[in-house]
């Protein structure tokens, strides 16, 4: 039972991170109908930015400011860096292709993803770096329930994810920017005719999605310790699966989907098989697509002719 709950907690942690990455996918997909393959790599770059901010504050052992402040700064810098990166990718890679055949921006996205991954490889080499978060965070503190520990990083991930999800939901539903996002998502040309600045709206979508992915990168660095140039690929793939399972275009859907994928993965890791856990996620994706292609909270898109 204890193991069961611990697995559940681990799964929810991973799932929350997947949900944060899935947000970027789901927002971009909702608005542009573009599967942004580079999004997973934006998350990876967020983790690297956080790592270097940590080094700038005196490395894992000799930190010059309170740890909470450092972590906040890591997240803010990663969010800013990734946000700018996301906007630049949109501006220079996707915007010229907005009216091209659907397959063209997808291929570009593959190229962007590949370039980002290998630029990091060129800069920092292929070996793993470690956040060494156990040096400055006490993992045995936190909440203890029935022999299960929810450590401070996990608490931070749950809290941060809930906060960001709620904030985004408010942003999309209540603000002018959110209204224009929904308008562009439902009909770009009509939105343009009604005076909405489509380019700016899309750029803001990329900014927000990428910033959230950057924060997720820092969180995953703190939680899982190891970063390489390739962590973005699989995480991005699973996050997209989460977005699809939850219903693409829906923010609560991304949350639900992320948690489902995370929990399924954690249980298959500890109870079924370590090697095949990715395949199990894949199986969930296939089943979702065959049974309910719109996902849990998605709405069926009418095909306009």
């Amino acid at each position: 039972m204890q193991e069961f709950i611990q697995t559940l907690v681990n799964g929810l942690t991973t799932g929350a991170l997947y949900a944060l990455i899935a947000l970027g996918y789901t927002m971009v997909y909702g608005i542009l109908k573009l599967l942004n393959f580079a999004h997973g790599d934006v998350y990876m770059i967020g983790a690297w930015i956080g790592y270097f901010v940590m080094l700038a504050f005196g490395g894992p052992t000799d930190i010059s400011v309170p740890v909470v402040v450092m972590i906040l700064v890591m997240m803010v810098v990663a969010a800013l860096g990734c946000g700018i990166l996301g906007v630049a990718i949109e501006r220079f890679a996707y915007r010229p292709l907005r009216d091209a055949p659907r397959i063209a921006p997808l291929i570009t996205a593959l190229g962007v993803s590949f370039v980002l991954e290998n630029t990091v490889l060129l800069f920092f080499g292929g070996f793993t770096r470690s956040y060494q978060s156990e040096d400055y965070i006490n993992f045995s503190s936190g909440i203890h329930i029935a022999g299960v520990t929810i450590n401070p990083v996990e608490l931070m991930i749950f809290g941060g994810t809930a906060l960001m999800m709620a904030g985004l939901q408010l942003l999309v539903k209540r603000t002018a920017l959110g209204r224009s996002m929904r308008a562009v998502a439902s009909d770009r040309e009509a939105a343009e005719m009604l005076g909405i600045n489509v380019d700016r709206t899309i750029a803001m979508t990329f900014l927000i999605g990428s910033a959230v992915a950057g924060v997720a990168g820092v969180m995953s660095g703190l939680a899982f310790d190891q970063i390489t140039n390739t962590i973005g690929f699989l995480a991005g793939l699973k996050a997209f699966t989460a977005a699809v399972v939850g219903g693409i275009g829906s923010i609560p859907g991304a949350m639900i989907g992320g948690l489902i994928i995370g929990v399924c993965e954690a249980f298959s890791l500890s109870y079924i098989s370590i090697q095949y856990s990715d395949l199990i996620v894949f199986g969930i994706l296939i089943i979702t697509m065959l049974v309910r292609p719109t996902g849990i909270l998605g709405q069926r898109a009418l095909q306009k002719v």
Binding site: L110, G111, V112, D278, L279
Partner: protein
């Protein structure tokens, strides 16, 4: 399907007349006219392809040649000549060039590159069926390649025998037959899943298929599939007692297969099936409305692509005499995409050209001397093509050289150690540029910073126009050269990967039809 209005001879004459009048009328530079731009084009009266009426061909299709704007100048003449000769003389010419290359090349390393180029040409040809023709973004294509390779490995080694002895050692022809049919069936099954998925969903599912393949061969029954190490000790290709043992032999086999596959694919492309694929690529809904069996065609595209990919896998495994899961990663599928996109999705010649070009470039990057020729040659070619008139070009080139000399002189007068490093390029160019580029002794971080600066400069250039663009190109080329000499050429593997990604991005932005493809216009 009504075509009959006039005898074949009338139609031919009329067609030629129409072509003549159109070429003289369209002097202005126009991009190749879209096949679908119906309204604007003056409709040529009843123009056939010059070979008379084709039975069973709709008149719109029959007239498609006359609606093409081939352009003027020597490029136009070349395109017109290209359309006049049939497909098989072109294929024969290509094959002759290939055979000639096989005769001329004696260096075994270069022969290996030529063989790899042929393998990638086959891979690009197979991918072209689903991506270029049917418009299905198949990111799991590498799995079919891998299945072909593992299929050959299992059937031609001791893997299926007990206690590492025995096993099946079938002949190559039989293996190719078994493997292509087997992988074709797998492609069929994956295609069945694909039926329910539109564009991007299909991409993600197939990407998972590719990953799943690697995971399965890594983890499943390592006594047979060998786990991480894969299977080794495969037989060379052998047919009826003849064994292929030399690299040159493998090259000829691969070349022959490229020719055969290209011929089959050409016939497929011009058949009803080929046209239906393109119809469903351009507008699935309209294609369905025209009673085209969309589902059947999608599955067919997957299955055919899988079969061609598996042939490449067989060749690869036989030549290497071993297979391992690391040969079939997601990076490989992106490489194949780069081949196809660069050459031109939808074009058979383009796929072959792309495969050859990417392989050759990849190989050149590994040698510092060749890499220097490639890098500076490409920059020079780009400047020559893009900058007109020639006075500007001369000023630009002089500006770049002088800028570099000045920068080098200033930096070396401030600090001698800042220019103490050796440029990474070898050969004549390496010694030529050593007094021009700034390479400090320990160039790692410096090169990284330059790479970041270079990307920013490139993005700035995209936004600039006119004279300012020419001005900014000067420092950009210089920064590119310094970065190249200090960082990129030292890391050929990473540089290749970045280049492959850049090929995808740049081709899609600048020339989505690739080098040899036909331009497509989205139907609204």
């Amino acid at each position: 399907m009504s075509t009959e209005s006039g005898t074949p001879d009338d139609r031919q004459a009329a067609g030629e007349a129409a072509t003549e009048s159109r070429t003289s009328a369209d002097d202005g530079e126009q991009p190749a006219a879209p096949d679908t731009g119906a309204g604007e084009q003056p409709r040529a009266p009843e123009a056939g392809s010059g070979r008379g009426a084709r039975i069973g061909v709709d008149s719109w299709v029959a007239q498609s040649d006359s609606r093409l704007d081939l352009g003027t100048g020597w490029g136009g003449s070349l395109r017109r000549f290209d359309r006049r000769i049939g497909w098989w003389p072109k294929l024969a010419l290509g094959a002759a060039v290939g055979v000639l290359a096989g005769v001329v090349i004696t260096n075994i390393g270069v022969q290996q590159v030529a063989f790899n180029a042929m393998v990638y040409a086959i891979l690009a040809l197979g991918l072209n069926i689903s991506v270029g023709w049917a418009g299905l973004l198949d990111l799991g294509y590498v799995a079919f390649y891998g299945m072909g390779a593992y299929g050959y490995a299992l059937l031609s080694s001791t893997a299926l025998g007990a206690n590492s002895t025995g096993g099946l050692h079938l002949s190559a022809a039989l293996i190719i037959l078994i493997v292509t049919i087997g992988v074709g069936i797998v492609g069929l099954l994956i295609g069945l899943v694909a039926l329910r998925l539109e564009g991007d969903y299909l991409a993600i599912v197939t990407l998972f298929v590719g990953l799943a393949f690697v995971e399965i061969v890594t983890n499943f029954d390592s006594t047979v599939l060998g786990g991480v190490n894969g299977i080794f000790g495969l037989d060379p290709l052998h047919v009826l007692g003849h064994q292929v043992t030399t690299t040159k032999g493998y090259y000829y086999v691969a070349l022959g297969l490229v020719v055969v596959i290209a011929a089959i694919l050409h016939l497929l492309d011009t058949s009803r099936t080929g046209r239906a694929w393109r119809a469903l690529r351009d507008d699935t809904l309209a294609a369905r409305a025209m009673t085209i069996p969309v589902n059947k065609l999608k599955v067919m595209a997957f299955a055919f692509g899988a079969m061609v990919g598996s042939v490449a896998g067989v060749l690869f495994a036989a030549d290497q005499a071993s297979v391992s899961p690391s040969d079939f990663t997601a990076a490989v599928v992106i490489l194949i995409y780069a081949c196809l996109v660069l050459g031109g999705a939808g074009s058979i010649a383009g796929a072959i050209l792309g495969g050859v070009l990417i392989t050759v470039v990849e190989q050149m990057l590994t040698s510092p001397t060749d890499a220097a020729y490639l890098f500076y040659g490409l920059i020079l070619a780009a400047l020559v093509v893009k900058i007109r008139p020639w006075r500007y070009l001369a000023a630009e080139l002089a500006g770049i050289v002088l800028f570099g000399l000045a920068a080098h002189a200033i930096v070396s007068s401030i600090s001698a150690s800042a220019v103490a490093g050796q440029p990474g390029s070898g050969g004549r160019i390496g010694s030529l540029v050593s007094g021009w580029v700034i390479v400090p002794a320990n160039a790692g971080t410096y090169g990284n910073a330059l790479f970041a600066v270079l990307i920013v400069l490139l993005l700035v250039i995209i936004r600039l126009h006119g004279i300012w663009r020419l001005v900014v190109i000067v420092p950009t080329v210089y920064v590119a050269a310094c970065c190249w000499e200090s960082r990129l050429v030292v890391n050929p593997a990473v540089t290749t990967q970045i280049m492959i990604g850049a090929v995808l991005i740049v081709t899609m932005a600048a020339r989505p039809q690739g080098l040899l493809g036909t331009r497509r216009v989205e139907v609204v």
